[in-house]
Symmetry: C2
Subunit: 591 residues, 2 copies
Amino acid sequence: MPSYTAPLKDMQFLLHSVLNVTASDTPGYGDLDEGFTAAVLEEAGKVASDLLAPLNAVGDREGCLLENGMVRTPTGFKAAFQAMKDGGWTALDCDPDYGGQGLPYLMGTAVGEIFVSANMAFNMYQGLTHGAYSAIHTHGTAEQKATYLPKMVSCDWTGTMNLTEPHCGTDLGLMRTRAEPQADGSYLITGTKIFISAGEHDLAENIIHLVLAKAPGGGEGSKGISLFIVPKFLVNDDGSLGARNAVSVGKIEDKMGIHGSATCVMNYDGAKGWLLGDLHKGMRAMFTMMNEARLGVGLQGYAQAAVAYENALAYAKDRLQGRAVTGAENPSGPADPLIVHPDIRRNLMEQKSFVEGARALTFWAAHLIDRSVRQGDAEAEGLVSLMIPVIKGFQTDKGFEMAVQAQQVLGGHGYIEASGMSQFARDARIAMIYEGANGVQALDLVGRKLAQDGGKHVMAFFDVVKAECQAHDSDERMKGFVGPLKTASKQLQQAAMFFMQSGMKNPNAALSGSYDFMHLMGHVCLGLMWTRIAKAAYTAFDTGASDRDFLDAKIATGRFYMARQLPACTMHLARIETGAETVMALRTEAF
Amino acid sequence: MPSYTAPLKDMQFLLHSVLNVTASDTPGYGDLDEGFTAAVLEEAGKVASDLLAPLNAVGDREGCLLENGMVRTPTGFKAAFQAMKDGGWTALDCDPDYGGQGLPYLMGTAVGEIFVSANMAFNMYQGLTHGAYSAIHTHGTAEQKATYLPKMVSCDWTGTMNLTEPHCGTDLGLMRTRAEPQADGSYLITGTKIFISAGEHDLAENIIHLVLAKAPGGGEGSKGISLFIVPKFLVNDDGSLGARNAVSVGKIEDKMGIHGSATCVMNYDGAKGWLLGDLHKGMRAMFTMMNEARLGVGLQGYAQAAVAYENALAYAKDRLQGRAVTGAENPSGPADPLIVHPDIRRNLMEQKSFVEGARALTFWAAHLIDRSVRQGDAEAEGLVSLMIPVIKGFQTDKGFEMAVQAQQVLGGHGYIEASGMSQFARDARIAMIYEGANGVQALDLVGRKLAQDGGKHVMAFFDVVKAECQAHDSDERMKGFVGPLKTASKQLQQAAMFFMQSGMKNPNAALSGSYDFMHLMGHVCLGLMWTRIAKAAYTAFDTGASDRDFLDAKIATGRFYMARQLPACTMHLARIETGAETVMALRTEAF
């Protein structure tokens, strides 16, 4: 059975040596001293290792069960959910006005990684609730906030997001779910939604569905869509639960992974709902939550790779097979451990350098979101909204790829379900799909974000990279970082330039390279992170840090990423510069 | 539910326009005229579509069941297996002296792809039997052949391969299974083998296990290993079945995929066995079958990608979502089909160009095996043995990757088991692991095959590529093929040179780049195939072929591969040339 240990040391290093949180002017960051964050993360790590990780395989094996319109979650989920509530984990970064603890989103992200690594499916019940909480918190009326938020902060009530219908996913303009206005100001919602995570389950007293639907007068396409609050049980004026609403689960899906998370078909048969935010502006309301939601999925990508890596590494150190080609390293044993073999090491280093780089990128993005939300920093908001599709698309692609590579370390044993490695890969797979499939992320990046506000944000991104390079230009030790980062960043600029020039004539020329661009930018982001990490490690050395082994490992891992992974940028640029010609040459009928 | 249609046109094109089989001097090829191969492939396609494909999901859902020492295969497998026997499919490329039809291995390979695409797990019962048949055919005594082969050709009896033990997979020198010689010339085999595909099941009267074990006097390590025939039921002198042997299934594994194939723990408790081939030379006996076995797994890789691509393509043509950025292509409908979007096309073209290129490579390799086996062509044998690790490693890595990309086309629907796309990916995953994990293939390629016979075979490979380039140098139409192939081939040579020079000083410098070299060479092989295919298409044009749409599509698909996929070679070379430094920098304890 696999195990999980939270990467406390790496997280503390990121918070205090790379991001220097206590030196930040972001409100609330002053409280995040080393002792405090260590206590929070350590406690989260204990909960993850002792409570959540052991339930991961149970959830996968048992899945959820639909009986008489009720969904039963796997054995142990209910007690664990109660323990999470009792421990206050659901309220961590929520608004104190509604019972939250008010910690920065950055801390919620760090704790989130720990819980997602331990049990991704279980964590979705809370994760979806947090998303719905954010939507109501941003767009709700004072009354709506008072009615729903306290119960959602405590997870007594959970939340859902209802977008997809059988015939439409990405193209929400095709939506058929209707909202009929009633005399009392409410709406009756009718339609079918699919792929609704946590749509029905036995973990909470009530479920607050956020549902996209078309209300009269909104016109065609996605512009006429509105967002509604549709509770499973209506809420009385005194806050107690009233009548059951006309919403029910039609079936639950049999999926490749995240079996512990109930994926529901939801039927709305004239269910009572209330408008959230402005009429016919539901898409905009959804979009304001998207940065957080997509960051959360990008986190799932590397969090699964992280736990898969931990277990692959343990196997590679333990399993004796063959001899090091440079001479036995375990001469008294029957064979050397797998980790002596260069190709096993290459594999492990690819996993390690991705996971730690992606963690740094995700933490930085969470910090930018804090700056945006807590102090109205528009530049931070622009920068993070540019990077969000990269964090979601690149990190989930690579996260899955790395979980598969981790599985490979175990050979045949990795293919056996009992090893747990298959589940990491199967669970990680969904993150490439939901919250906007990764091709849609690439489209968002190239078709929308690059040109947003006159290209201001992408210019700002290049400035950040340039400043980082210049800051270390004279530091001889940083040569292995600054050089490759400069090259990769130039390649990214060249790709953006190609899009501008060729995309004018033929938009397909840019869109044919969108996926490669997303990955190219992902590598530049991780190259930037490793440059920062290396600098932080050298600085710690210079100031006499005691944990020299840890810092040495950081620098060596970063060097690997720069030398071995950044060459992918050359390939992506070459592909991009072939434009649309070979991609679009075949007529549809000729396929 | 997914469907399957055999790629008859592409196979015929490869056989008759690319390989020109009837013009070959390989014995048996003269009979392979277009009408004959069309009839065989068409009939195989019918069996695959009507009988095997519908059972694929059944096998996945039900899996195999172990009860009282018996393994029950999924519903319908028994009847289908009988139909395959009745149709003569199990005997297709077997020796006529033992009831086979004597067709070339190339035809067995083409038909094999069709069956594997339709139902990979089902096909393993026959596939394993074919491997055991080959071993006995090559190494058995006249009596052994007469006893076992006719029943194995008909699949009345099936076969297995027993290598792996709980504590040893790749490193067979650690093996513990023992063979004790008896006075009557037989041996008593004692030990436990794991991951034995088709180790026990209800499809055959008898199961002939080929078991690696250590007999006294062989010394330590893998040199002392011998190969034994251990039948489930002993065979009487008259060929009838006698007593049950002391071999039994201990358990069957719960796996990520190929659920319809029983993966067994086999216990040998003093089971009666007979030496196959020479004493203490079991490894050599296994190795002679390895080209075929590994080619078969490389075939599984692209065969799963092929069926996944077929279903992704159908979805992309059918599913309406969004509008083409260059203007509506389905203006009378509510939206355009997915296939109009450049990134969906990029994805589909990657799948298509890989599948068709890998099919060409696999067919060519099968032809080389025919030349080696049927006419003792040593050059063909050298060339194919060089390419085998590439075919196995590259094609299964890419096959899985492409099955995952096919799944991505369906968005959320691809994650739902009912779509069948998850199964293609889960089934394809095993091919990267068994028959030597892909890291071991890379080691075989770089550590063994490159230098074999003084580097003769790799020089021959470069000569083949060079000759292909020179042959079309003056053909203006071939510019988009010859140029990229030359570049990629030079990069491969440069990588090999790097290994020679740096590997002398530090073998880790070569082995750190072995995986990248395997992929680099895979791209060169597929580039070579697409160059040949394009030339064959142009030749067909020049000689007035009627099916111009098909030929146009071939050329366009090839152009895509050369322009969009060969740039990976630059990346692999850059990685290789960083040597061992960053890969081996971290001490084991520092991970």
